[in-house]
Each structure stands twice: as C-alpha cells, then as structure tokens.
Symmetry: C2
Subunit: 513 residues, 2 copies
C-alpha cells in the first residue's frame, strides 16, 4: 500500500515514495538489526557520540526541507517546527555529551574482600545494551518524538539498533529525517542496519512481535499504546514496553494566587492549553480554581474572542476531539465557559472549547473529565474551599505533570499539594504551566499509568537511556577482558562507585586494593 | 485452610498456627498498606535505616528458633541455614547503609539556565517510592529470599510497604520471621501495616490483582512466575513484575584449563551443583568441556561414589526433579555419566545425577537440556574443538550466570566467550562457580528472560532498590517544599548531579548559581 498523508489545513492528499512494509520485510530488517547490534556496541561510547553529533548536523543541514515537508503534513507552523527541529538536534548533542561523560553507566567496582558472611570475589558491574529497540513515532512531534526523536537518540546512545515505525500522519517527514540519520551513520562508519524505518500498522505489530526486538518505545494514545503493550507482554519472551500514553495534567490554583494573579494565570493557562492546538501530552486539561475566582473565570470566558481556531493533525484526531468535546458537553452539570468560532469545514479544523463545573464532578463514576482529549479543550473545576480541593485530589489518575499556582504564604496548603500530587505524577510544576518540556538531566517525562506503562522511567533527557540498558557483573574477570569503564586504570568515565562509595575520575581510587 | 508443611527428610506433616488468607483479608491488608505508605515514606531515609537495622537485630536475636524451625521445614542443614540467616541480617544492614549514604537516589539539580533552545526552568529530580509491593517468598531460601529477604529489605528501604506471600513449603518459618519484622517495626515506631504476611495460592493471585499493590517481586519457577507476570500485565493498571525464574548457568572449560586443572574444575563443579541439593537458581546445569578432557570426565564419573544424596524441599519439587531426570535420560544420545545411590524412599529423598552428550545436542529442537531442572542434576556437553564450542553458544537461552574456566594464554578465545555470553546473562564468573551470590553494590542477580521477567534489574544488592522507585521532577518548586536531597543547602546525600556533573557532598556546588 502506498503512503498517503494529508495537509491538515486543506485535507489535500500527498503520496510519498515508498509503501507499507511487509511482514517479510520487517523480519529481514529486524534480523539485520540484530546483526548490527554488536557492531554498534563495539563503536564504543566515543564512536556513538560521533554518530549522534553527525545526526544533529545532518538534521541541521536539511532544516529547510524538513520543516517545509513537516509543515505540509502537520500544519503546526514553521516557527514551531523549526524550534522543534533545533530541540531535536540539541537532544542528540546532549546524549553525545552523556556518552563522553560516562557516569550514566553507573560503573561499580567492588574489590575482593572478607566480610562477616565470608569471602566476596572481585565484582564489577556496568550497563550493556539490551538489543534492538522498536521506536514508535508520535503524531504530534514530527521530529522530537518521531524518527529522529528522543527515543531514537536514547537507544542509539545505549548502543541499541533502532527500527522505527513511522507515524502514518507524516510519512514524508519521516522519510526525509530517516535519510539524515542514515547519512550520519554512513559518515561515521556506523552500521547502516542500526537505523531502519518501517511503515504501516501491521508492520508495527510485526515489530513488537519480532524475536530480535528487545524493547519498545512508544508515544501515542492510551488505546493504541495499551494494545501494543499487551502484545509485548504476551510474547513467549516478554519485552519491556515503554509507552507514554495519556495525561490530563491538572493545574491547581490556590485562593491566594487566584486573588493576586488571576488574569495572568488564566492567560497562561489558555496559552499552554492551545499551544500546538492542544496536541501536547502535557496539555493542561484541568484547571482547579476557587469558585469565587472572578478574575480567572471572567478572563477565561473571553479567551477565544479572537482566536482559538486550529487544525488537528489527522482526520482521526479531529473526530476523536469532536467526540470528546461532545461527551464533555453531555456531562451533567458541565457548562461551556468559552468556545471559539469554528475555522471552517476545510481540512481538519477544530475550535477550542473550555468547560466548567464543580470539582465534585471529578469523583463521578466514569466521568469523561478524567479522559485525555487530544486538542484545545480543558475543564475548569470550581472548588468551594481548600478542603473540597484536597478531597478531590485522590480522584486524579496517574499523570505526567501537576502544576500548582500558589503564594509563599500558602506554605501549609502547598506542602499538602506537593506531597499528594508527587505520588501521582512525574513532574510538579510551580507557578508555571506544563507544556514545554526541557531536555535536561533532571527532567522526568513519565508517571504512573496511564501516563506511561512503566513509571520507573522518563522518555525525555539523558536518564531515558536507562530504558535500553541492563546490568552485567564481571566476577574475577581479568583486566584486559573488562569493558574500559571497569578497568583499574584508564577509566574513561567521570564517576563510578568503588567499594560502595562514589568517586570522581580525578580521585577514582580504583587501583587494586 | 490450615497451614501444613512437611519435613523433607521424613515427610512428616506439621500444622502451623494460622490459616490461608481470604480474599477479603487480602483486600483489607492491601488497603492498610496503602494507608501506611506515606507514613513509611515520611520516616525518611534515617528512620527507615533504623527500621532495617532493627530487623537485622531481631532476626539475630531469634536465630536459634529461626534456624530450628527452618531446618524442620527445609532440611537444608543448620550450618547452611545459620549462614543464610547471617546473610539476611547483613543484607538489611547493607540497605541501611545505602539509605544513610543516599547517592542511590540519583538526586539531580539543574539550575535555571538559558540554552540554544530557550530558557530552562530550575529542575530537580529524585526518586520516590512506587507504592505497596507484593513479595513472593521462594522455596529454597527460607530467609534470604523469603519473608525477611532481599526483596523485603529493598522495598522497605525504598519506602514501600510490603505484603509478603509466604512460600507454602515453610509457613512456620515465615511466621517466625514475620514476627521479627513486626517487632522491629514496633521498636522503631514504623507503621505495623507496612509489613504484612499472607498465605495461600489464591491470596497470592489476589495480591497481584489488588489495586493498591504497585509492584511485585517474585523468586520461583518459570511456570509459576509467568502466570503471575501475566496477571500483573493484564491488570487495568499494569504493574511491574520482577520475577526471577529459571536459569541453566552454563560452565565453559577451555581446552587449556581442562588440561591443566581438570580435577579441580570437576570437583568444584560437583560441589557447586550439589550445594543445597541442587536447589539454587544459580546451580550450574551445564558443563561444556573438550571431548578429550579425560581428567574431568573421569573425575566426574566418580563423583557420587560416596555422596550425592539429598532431599528436595517439597514433594512437588521432588516429582518435578524426577520427571526432569527421566526426560533427560530419554533424550537421544544422552548417557548417564554418574548417578548417586538413592537415599531411600522416606521423605523427599533424591539422588544426584550427571548426564553427558555432545554439544551439538544443545541446538536440538525442544531439547530438555535447556530446561532448568531444580535439584542435583547437570549435563556435561562435550565439544570437539573451539569452533564447535562457539557455534553452540547462540543456542543458550537468557540466564543469570555463565562461568568461564580459562588460562591467560586463552586470551582470544576468552574474549569471544566473554563478549558472547555477556549478551545472554547477568553475571560472568571467571575461574569459579556460580553458586554463592555476594551481596554487594556490584552484584547483578538477573538477566534476560527466562532468567528474569525484566533484565533491567537485579534482585540482589543495593541497586535492587531501583525496582521500587520512580523519578519525580520538581520544577521551580521553593526550597522549603523540596525533599532534603534536592535542597541547595543541607544535602544529606553523599553524591548528586549538579548541572549535569556528578558532585560529591563535600564539593556539592549546589548553591544557587
């Protein structure tokens, strides 16, 4: 089947080169990825850092073409797409620096010793690549969470070949980006088979079932992600499935903050909720405000007087958005607070909508308020006092983020909010909004189900590499047969653990005891 | 149903106090564990270190009673059981020291900064407890991998309440050990509901399905573990299942080593294979030797001339052992190399058996050689040259360990063995045998499926705590609301990452930039 994508603004079809990958082709690609695995690993950290930096440069060198084709397939705007592409190259370079620094390996050396429970041999532990990784590109980030995205960068950094399933919304962008990655591999002498691209829904299923694939990284919907998670878990040899699925990202405003910064908070919320036409996994979907927060509610009510139109990425997302908005509109006690004019019937146009109801609605069985709705919609929940606010929090499902708008004098309330919310989400945002995920060491882009299928990990930032690494211990193995980060001398990592204590490279203390 | 265990040496039944836990009781216990979770977390690292040390002391204080009852229920021998109990206390103390040291949290501070892709806010990341953990005790380690075992110590250290499913082979030992843990909790003022014990197969299933349970740790058979893994993965909210299942632990002997140390290797292998009557997850089940290794084969043939008898832990293990030995005996080309006299028909007596065949048998479809058989049995695989040895390695399944016996001049061969085997197992053992798992920072007790259901983790040593922790990021959150390990001043951890670089406590550089 040929590859067809649509311009969200016009609905016009575009036929790309290539076709859906057959099952036989997927099997052959995965087998070649398995063969490439030890070669990619043997490039070493420096070699793989070169590869990642070459990926960054190749993407930058084709920025014009990449942004143009992505704009045709996503309508996200050339500024946003240009920024996303810069972020994507930044991401590759950050992973390269992580490789050169080396402490991510958690290298650990325990010299042989006598203990109260007997002799312990010399034990040295490091992390090794898990094997070929299947990466599922997302619809909403054609670069940063797609073919050249964070999952690809993390897997390659780890030393794992990637077989990428292109998102069907942007096959041409995927092909163009894939060309850059392949060119980078060629430039640095990395195995070409370490980076592969497949198209088609069945190809994705085949990929998750393929015995050569050892882990899956996925960004997408809860329904689609869960289906693939189930396949991964039911294999004869189950593999880890790192799915980033759905999150409603509540934003909580204390009475003090509402009184003091109502307008600013309302405007910030709308900007965050409508960014990328509401198609961010961190889009704030709930705003909890005091019922007497007049400034906030008034400002929100006027939000879409001149704006709030946009385009869904796909016809399917548009339909699901409309269904979600309809369901919210039908909930008892839920009213429309603001609604944008519809931009028209061409393409996948959608209109932003803001609903409002009482916070008690959160605990109504089966409420649609707790379902993520991808697009520019949110629900304002009015609470009548901080007790009713705190009572409502246990109804919140697992999520990527929770944001708190508070003032210094709210200390006691804020502490309870931070404590409760940090048990439910991966990131607590203070006096800001959840969209805009920094790519840094301290980022967590993850959280309890359904935010992700595995709350132990992040899919953004250097620590996301841990999803694709497993520990191996070398017992009494001679120096010359050890990975370099475990040798007494010549350690090439900035920090490791020696006899239980963290040591920096300039004081590694790793000489034989 | 009342709790009945059997003395393996006599088959005599013993009725313990208590009964199987009903579904309603499991639900109530899990709910109370969820209530205890924030209280346990709030004890802080120091408070939980006190708890773990109290556990160690309570176990030591009742060592006589514990070992006596365990000997009645397991017949493993009082020396071995006493050693295992000391190891169990050692384990608690090691986790306590990990808590006081604090670097396991991977605390990371990224100060707000301007980057090529825009402003990054202040981001601080640490690890928080995942929630109540279900621990399934093993049959073969009534202390170290059961009620007071490594999984319990790791979960409590992480700040997660534990609900322990006692192994049905030793309910009385489980109750006695549980009493020690409860007494320890009382002594240090930890919530009693943070440590609970349940009995019965249905209780185990209920536990894995309970919505309050957030992770499962399991040590046991591949069949039983897979059943529970499937339940955990099919929940509405799936949870991580850390199962340590089966491993055949190959031991490979190079021609040089066989020629030079044949007798020593053969004797060491037999000692390792028969330790604990072959009921270790690290029991070496395969020995790969050159076909002309006369000394090794002759020594092995005489192995059980005066010994090799023992007792299975349960009637079920005895039956499965006998079935496994029968299946091996029926494999084409597989011969008995040595067989012990049967100790008699009383209790669960078994006789050690050693089979022998050509290494090519490894790749025979459906061969029983690759199935773990719990008990004192192993298969010697003769290879005709190092090429046939290397050709056979890809047939080896994932495992906990692989051991290599080689000499310095085997360098080239040894490198290939280390490379190939480290892609399949969690620990490479050099010139030694796999039984005897040190409890230390650099230990990996894990490996690719079916060794474990999640190769990213170890179930032994301080890093096993990572199974029960998930990351949370605090964005721009005021100092006073941060966990102490993330505050600028007063960091109580020995190392953390600051702006991407690992810093030690005495040079933390964490002051605001």
């Amino acid at each position: 089947m040929s590859l067809v994508s649509f311009n969200p603004k016009t609905g016009q079809a575009r036929v790309s080169d290539g076709s859906e990958t057959t099952s036989a082709e997927v099997a052959a690609i995965c087998e070649r990825a398995a063969v490439a695995a030890p070669i990619l690993a043997d490039l070493g950290r420096a070699g793989r850092a070169d590869l990642l930096e070459a990926c960054a440069r190749e993407l930058e060198g084709r920025a014009g073409e990449l942004v143009a084709v992505a704009e045709e397939e996503t309508a996200l705007g050339v500024d946003r797409l240009g920024g996303e592409l810069r972020r994507t190259s930044f991401q590759f370079r950050l992973f390269a620096s992580m490789l050169r620094e080396g402490s991510y390996l958690g290298a650990s050396i325990d010299h042989a010793t006598e203990t109260p429970i007997g002799h312990f041999p010399d034990l040295r532990r490091t992390l090794v690549p898990i094997g070929p990784v299947a990466v599922f590109g997302s619809s909403n980030f054609p670069f940063a969470f797609s073919v050249p995205g964070g999952d690809t960068a993390a897997a390659l950094a780890a030393g794992c070949p990637v077989v990428i399933k292109a998102h069907p919304a942007h096959p041409a962008t995927s092909q163009e980006a894939f060309g850059c990655l392949r060119a980078a591999a060629k430039l640095v002498g990395a195995p070409a088979d370490a980076i592969a691209l497949v198209h088609g829904q069945q190809a994705g299923i085949d990929l998750v079932n393929d015995p050569s694939i050892r882990a899956v990284a996925f960004t997408g919907s809860e329904a689609g992600g869960r289906r693939l998670f189930d396949i991964a878990s039911r294999r004869a040899q189950p593999i880890p499935f790192y799915g980033e699925l759905g999150s409603i990202n509540p934003v909580i405003v204390t009475p003090t903050a509402a009184g003091r910064r109502g307008r600013q908070i309302a405007e910030g919320f709308i900007a965050s909720m409508t960014a990328g036409y509401g198609q961010f996994c961190t889009k704030p979907g709930l705003l909890l405000v005091p019922e007497d927060a007049g400034t906030i509610l008034d400002t929100l009510a006027r939000s879409f007087e001149d704006g709030g139109q946009g385009w869904s990425l796909t016809a399917d997302i548009m339909r699901r958005y409309q269904d979600g908005v309809d369901r919210l509109g039908e909930e008892p006690g839920v009213d429309v607070l603001a609604k944008a004019e519809h931009a028209g019937r061409e393409g996948f146009a959608v209109a932003a909508t803001l609903f409002s109801t009482g916070v008690e609605r959160l605990s109504a069985p089966g409420t649609a308020i707790l379902d993520e709705c991808f697009g520019p919609v949110a629900v304002v929940l009015r609470y009548s006092g901080t007790d009713s606010l705190l009572d409502a929090l246990p109804s919140l499902p697992g999520g990527l983020t929770a944001s708190i708008h508070a003032e210094r004098e709210d200390h006691a309330l804020a502490r309870r909010l931070v404590d409760t919310l940090s048990r439910r989400v991966g990131r607590i945002v203070w006096n800001a909004f959840p969209t805009g995920v920094a790519v840094s060491w301290s980022m967590t882009h993850g959280g309890p189900y359904p935010a992700t299928t595995n709350a132990l990990h992040t899919s953004v930032g250097p620590t996301s590499v841990g999803r694709f690494l497993r520990p191996v211990t070398f017992q009494d193995v001679p120096q010359e047969l050890l990975p370099d980060e475990l040798r007494d001398e010549g350690a090439t990592v900035s920090a490791r653990r020696v006899d239980g204590a963290v040591r920096l490279a300039d004081d590694s203390g790793a000489g034989t005891a």
